[in-house]
Amino acid sequence: MSSLEKRLAAEKRFKFYGMFAMTLSLFFVLILMYKIFSTGSGAFVRTTINADVYFDPNFIEVSSNSSKKEIMKASYVDLADQVINQNHPGLDEENFIKVREMYTRKFDYQLRDYIANNPNVIGKTVNLDISASSDLDQIVKGNYPRNVPEAQRKINDYQLSILDSLDSKGKMSKTFNFWFFTNGDSRDPETAGILGALMGSFYALLICFSFAFPIGLLASVYLEEFVKPGKITDIIEVNINNLAAVPSIVYGLLGLGMLIGVFGMPYQVPLVGGLVLGFMTLPTIIIASRASLRGVPPSIREGALAVGATKMQTVFHHVIPLSLPGTLTGTIIGMAQALGETAPLLLIGMVAFVMEIPGGAFDPATGLPSQIYLWSESAERGFLEKTSAGIMLLLSFLIIMNTVAVLIRRKLEVKW
C-alpha cells in the first residue's frame, strides 16, 4: 500500500472512531432522558374524582360575609367528610375510612381554597373535581399493579371496586397538575410542589450573583489591569485556579464553620446557601473575567491613554465594557453550576422538609437539587415521579441559562 493510501485509511479510521464515540455518548444521553421523561411526565398529571359538593352551612364554621382571613383559618374537615358521605351514601365506619383514603388528605384545604375564592358558594351545590390520593393516582396511572394479592397493594379490594364503579360512571378524570408548580413541599405526593425549592434556589442564586459578580469582576480587573505581575500575583493566580477545582462540599463546610459557626448566621436559609455558592462561583468568574479582559486588544487601552484618559478611565470606559460579555458568560455558566450543586446545601441545612414557600433570603428553604434529593429518599411511589419531574425542571433551567450564556457571547461580543 502506498503511503498516501495509508494516510487516507488512517483518516477514515479516525473519522469512524469519532462517530462511534459520538453515537455512544448520544445513546447514553438518550437513555437518561428517556428514563427521566418516562418517569417524570406523570407528575404533571393528577387524577381527580368528580363529586357534587354541597357547601352545607351546617358544616361550615364561617359564612359568606366572613373575611378571607377567617375563611382561611376555619376547619373544613367535617365538610369534607360530609361530601364523601353525600357522594358515597350508606357507608359504615370502616368503609368510610377506606373511601376517605381514596381522596387526598388535603381535601379540606381544597374546599377551603374554593370557598375563599368564591365565598357566595356557601349553601349551594357545586360540581367539583377532587384530587385523588397519591396511591389511587398511582393505580390509575398503572404504576402500581392491580393483579397482586391484596396484602401487597396500597389500595385494597374494596377501594378498587369503588374506583371501578366511579370509573364506569365517568367520574374519574385527569387534570394538569398545577400544584406541582404552585405548592411547597408536602408529606403527600399529590399535593407536593416544587415552588418552595424553586424560590429557595432563586434567592440563593440572587445572593450568589450579587455577592460573587461584583467581587469577581473587581478582583479580576485589579489583577489584570492594575497590579504589577510578580511573585505574589503568581501565587494568587495558582490559588484561584486551585480554588476553582475544590470540591463543592468543602465550600459547604466553610459555610457551616464560618458563616453559621462563627458569624452566627441562621441555618437552612438561602442567604447562607447563596454566599456558599458565591464562594464556589467566585474563582470561575475571576478566571472567565480575566481571560476576557486579556482579550481586549492593547490598542484600545493605548488609544484611550493617548487622548489623556487616566488608567481608571481607560479601564472603566473601555476595557470593562468590552470584556463584559465574556465575564457575563462565565458568570452565568458558573451560576448554572451553582444551581445544580447539592453538597453545599446539604451541609448548611437547606435539605429539610419545608412546606412554606420562602418569601425572602432569610426564610428557611430548600433548593432545587436538595428537593430532588429529598424526594428521591421518600419511599412512596408518588415521589418518584416528583423526583424525575424535579430533575426535568432543573435541567430546563440549566439549558436556559447556558443558552443565554451562548446568546450573550454571540450577540454582544465585539469582533475585531
Binding site: 486588544p297 490598542s299 488609544g303 491613554l305 493617548a306 489623556g308 465585539v414
Partner: protein, 258 residues
C-alpha cells in the same frame, strides 16, 4: 544642551532608553520645530518608535522600560518632571497609532471622548461643534456626517485612521505623534492621510515615524535617521535624501540595507 529657543515645539537631549538591560536609545538629541513635519526613519528595531513613544510618555505603561533624558515642551515644560500629570501632557501631545484603533463605539463618541474627559466642552452644542470641526479637519466629515451614530469599527481602514486623527485633534493638542500611520493602509488611503498631514501642519507640529522613505520625502521638512538606537543624521529632508553627510544614511536611502 537644550537652548531656550521657542521656535521649537519640543526639544530633547541626552535621551537614553533601556528595556530592562537592553539599550534601545543611546544618547539622542533632537529638536522639533513648530508647525513643521519631522519624520523619523530607519530600519526596524532602530528605536524610532520607542523614541516617539517617549514624547508623550506612552512608554510609562511598559514596566521594564526606563527612560532618561531631557524633554522640554515649548522650551520650558519638562515632560518627565514629577509635577507634570501625564494626562495633561497627552492633552498637549496627541498620538495616532500604526494600526487604526477606534473605540468600538459610535463615530461621534470616538471623537467626543477626549473633549468629554478633559471637560473641554461646556455644553452639548459646543461638544457637537468640536466633533464636527475635528472630523472636518481630518477630512472625514463629508463621508460620515449622515452616520455619526454608526459603530466606528464598521468604517474602512483609511477612514478609521482618519477618525483616529480626528480623535487626536479633538482635544486640541500642540503636537501630533504618528507611528507609521499608513502602514496598514492601501495607497489611496495613504495618499489621503498624507494630504491631511500637509494641511494639519498649519496648526500642529507633527512627528511621524515611517518606513516609507518616499512618504518621508513627500510629507516632512525635517528628517532624522535612526540606526541601532543612535541618531545617525538629522537635517532638511531634501538634503538627507539627496546628499546625506553620513555614508550609513546614504546606504539606507539607496536601499543597500534595512
Amino acid at each position: 544642551m537644550v537652548d531656550q529657543n521657542s521656535n521649537y515645539a519640543l526639544q530633547t537631549s541626552e535621551v537614553y532608553v533601556h528595556y530592562g538591560k537592553k539599550m534601545a536609545i543611546n544618547n539622542v538629541a533632537l529638536n522639533f520645530p513648530k508647525n513643521e513635519v519631522t519624520s523619523l526613519i530607519g530600519p526596524s528595531g532602530c528605536g524610532k518608535s520607542t523614541f516617539l513613544r517617549c514624547l508623550n510618555r506612552m512608554n510609562d505603561v511598559i514596566d521594564i522600560c526606563n527612560v532618561k533624558g531631557k524633554f522640554l515642551l515649548n522650551g520650558n515644560v519638562d515632560i518627565y518632571s514629577p509635577d507634570i500629570q501625564v494626562e495633561t501632557l497627552r492633552e498637549k501631545v496627541g498620538m495616532v497609532f500604526q494600526k487604526p484603533n477606534p473605540f468600538p463605539k459610535t463615530i461621534y463618541e470616538n471623537v467626543a471622548y477626549g473633549p468629554k474627559i478633559h471637560g473641554i466642552a461646556s455644553s452639548q452644542n459646543e461638544l457637537d461643534e468640536i466633533v464636527k470641526d475635528s472630523l472636518h479637519r481630518a477630512g472625514l466629515y463629508e463621508e460620515v456626517k449622515d452616520r455619526m451614530d454608526d459603530i466606528a469599527t464598521g468604517l474602512s481602514g483609511g477612514q478609521q485612521q482618519r477618525l483616529c486623527i480626528a480623535r487626536a485633534i479633538a482635544i486640541r493638542p500642540e503636537i501630533i505623534l504618528m507611528d507609521e500611520p499608513c502602514s496598514a493602509l492601501d495607497p489611496i488611503a495613504t495618499a489621503k492621510i498624507e494630504d491631511l498631514i500637509n494641511e494639519l501642519k498649519e496648526n500642529y507640529t507633527i512627528i511621524i515615524v515611517t518606513h516609507s522613505m518616499s512618504q518621508a520625502s513627500r510629507v516632512s521638512s525635517k528628517t532624522a535617521f535612526f540606526h541601532l538606537g543612535n541618531l545617525v543624521e538629522y537635517g532638511e529632508t531634501g538634503k538627507i535624501f539627496t546628499k546625506p553627510d553620513k555614508e550609513q544614511t546614504n546606504d539606507y536611502i539607496t536601499g543597500r540595507f534595512g
